[in-house]
């Protein structure tokens, strides 16, 4: 999940750059309408106007969108032909996209246009995004009815719920959010699988989520 940074922050990072490429991402950021074609064009207009009003100058802005900014080959086909014409790239992807670009173009300023929040999903009805996965490296969703306590319990408890639960709500944030462990309990009860609820889950091996992380797709 990404959230647009405040315009003032973006302008401050652009600083004195004259030639800018705004690069969107049609992957996760695009799907949730934060980094797609439309947002890239809106950002271009907003920067042009702000630069003119605030600094009285004109910035040359190119725009483009890649399928997935986390994929360097996708970025290369779009960025390589224009890189010699830009001082900076404003990325409208996630933190991964920014870092992929920064690695590819170490001499170019890469500006993050977004704050990357978490891995999650949108609830279309409420328009809210919910964090669903901590990428913890040892998935226990089978035991918990497909609801992750690592991401959705404020304390990441493995054998919850704790005493901060009241009427199915969590003490963190003033009892507005659901207690993940009550959700898990209800789900497993409905499926008549409370045996999974009562399984003892041993202390977690946090080496799996020790950053910086590495992983080999060929089984490493």
């Amino acid at each position: 999940m990404v959230r647009k940074k405040p315009m003032d922050q973006i302008l401050a990072m652009i600083g004195e750059c004259k030639n800018l490429l705004i690069l969107g991402c049609d992957g996760c950021a695009g799907v949730y309408q934060e980094g797609g074609r439309k947002q890239v064009e809106l950002m271009k207009t907003a920067i042009e106007m702000a630069e003119e009003v605030k600094k009285g100058r004109k910035v040359n802005i190119l725009t483009d969108v890649v399928e997935r900014q986390c994929e360097s080959s996708f970025c290369a086909s779009v960025v390589n032909p224009v890189i010699h014409n830009v001082d900076a790239i404003l990325s409208l992807g996630c933190g991964v996209g920014v870092q992929v670009l920064a690695d590819m173009y170490p001499n170019t300023l890469i500006i993050p246009g977004h704050d990357t929040m978490f891995i999650g999903v949108e609830d279309r009805e409420s328009g809210m995004f919910h964090e669903l996965c901590k990428a913890c490296g040892s998935c226990l969703l089978y035991e918990t009815g497909g609801i992750c306590p690592v991401a959705r319990c404020a304390k990441s408890l493995l054998n919850g719920p704790c005493g901060g639960q009241s009427k199915g709500k969590c003490e963190v944030g003033g009892w507005k959010k659901d207690c993940a462990w009550v959700l898990i309990y209800n789900r497993l009860k409905d499926r008549e699988r409370l045996d999974l609820f009562t399984v003892f889950r041993a202390p977690k091996d946090f080496r799996e989520m020790q950053h910086p992380r590495e992983f080999s797709a060929s089984g490493g």
Binding site: A154, K155, S156, L157, L158, N159, G160, P161, C162, G163, G164, Q165, S166, K167, G168, E171, V172, G173, W175, W181, V182, Y185, K189, L194, F197, T198, F200, R201, A202, P203, K204, F206
Partner: protein, 302 residues
């Protein structure tokens, strides 16, 4: 069943109805109030809980006052430990220190979340949860090894307690969680504060099958302000209207002194009722800062 190492467990095992108290070392370097409180409770309770940064307020480390009240006052401590602020290395380190200082009871808690305390910016730890912490304690005490199987020389001898949310709603996941912990090696259960007998009875029936001693928590009100705070902010606390009314009326009638007397009546009677009608092995009296009410409640309970 683990052996009774502490006075608390010895008395429970001997079939006595026990009382425990509670002390709260706060944001100070002074042990004066804690020692005075312990002195007041001495002879009336078998052991005293020393709280570990309750509601995530940053206070004095509970181990030191736990040790000092045992040494200087002669009251046994129940050293509360939360997993909120320590990873498993720090937990083990403090456990060994507690063992060296002669602590005999540990209450294993998850701890209120940092965001509800006075230092909400802090990074919470929760490396273990209260269940895996019980597992760790059992490994150390019963097997003499740490979580990784490394040998612990002269392992400490503790009795391990846990907290139960007597007001939990829904109740069943709480009971199932307690069952899971009990299987891992729990000697006693202390509950959160309860204010009505029916709720307590329902809970006691639900945990009966666990065959683990339960001490029911009672928390009298020091003032109307505290009552309001409990009603408004403490999760899962349900104070019946009638009890609230009695405290408020007492305050109007005669201020602090009248509130104290009303508390003695309300909680003395509640204690007697719980003692008589449930299978609780004792009561845990949380009267922080007004410990002098504890002997009077016990006396009225009979």
């Amino acid at each position: 069943m683990r052996q009774a190492y502490s006075e608390l467990m010895k008395e429970i095992s001997a079939g006595k109805f026990v009382y425990t108290g509670e002390l709260e070392p706060v944001k100070t370097t002074s042990l004066k109030e804690v020692l005075e409180g312990a002195q007041t409770l001495k002879g009336h309770v078998v052991a005293v809980n020393v709280t570990d940064n309750p509601t995530a307020f940053a206070y004095m480390n509970a181990l030191i006052p736990s040790y000092v009240i045992q040494r200087d006052v002669g009251v046994e401590a129940v050293y509360q430990m939360t997993v909120r602020d320590r990873n498993r290395i720090a937990l083990l380190s403090d456990i060994l220190a507690a063992g060296a200082l002669g602590i005999k009871n540990i209450l294993a808690l998850s701890g209120d979340h940092t965001t509800v305390g006075d230092t909400p910016q802090a990074k919470p730890v929760y490396d273990l949860d209260s269940t895996t912490f019980v597992y760790m304690l059992s490994k150390i005490v019963d097997e003499g090894v740490d979580l990784n199987g490394n040998r612990v020389e002269e392992p400490p001898k503790f009795n391990v307690g846990i907290a139960a949310n007597i007001n939990a709603d829904p109740l069943e996941p709480e009971i199932l969680k307690l069952e899971r912990k009990v299987k891992l090696g729990v000697d006693f259960i202390q509950t959160q504060a309860v204010y009505d007998v029916e709720r307590a009875k329902r809970f006691m029936e639900a945990v009966d099958y666990l065959n683990t001693p339960v001490l029911i928590g009672l928390a009298p009100f020091r003032s109307v302000g505290m009552l309001d705070w409990m009603v408004k902010f403490v999760p899962g606390i349900a104070v019946p209207e009638e009890v609230q009314e009695r405290i408020r009326l007492a305050d109007k009638r005669g201020g602090k002194a009248a509130v104290l007397e009303e508390n003695v009546e309300i909680f003395g009677d509640l204690a007697r009722e719980l003692k008589k009608t449930t299978r609780a092995k004792g009561l845990h009296l949380m009267a922080i800062g007004f410990e002098h009410i504890v002997p009077r409640i016990i006396e009225r309970a009979g």
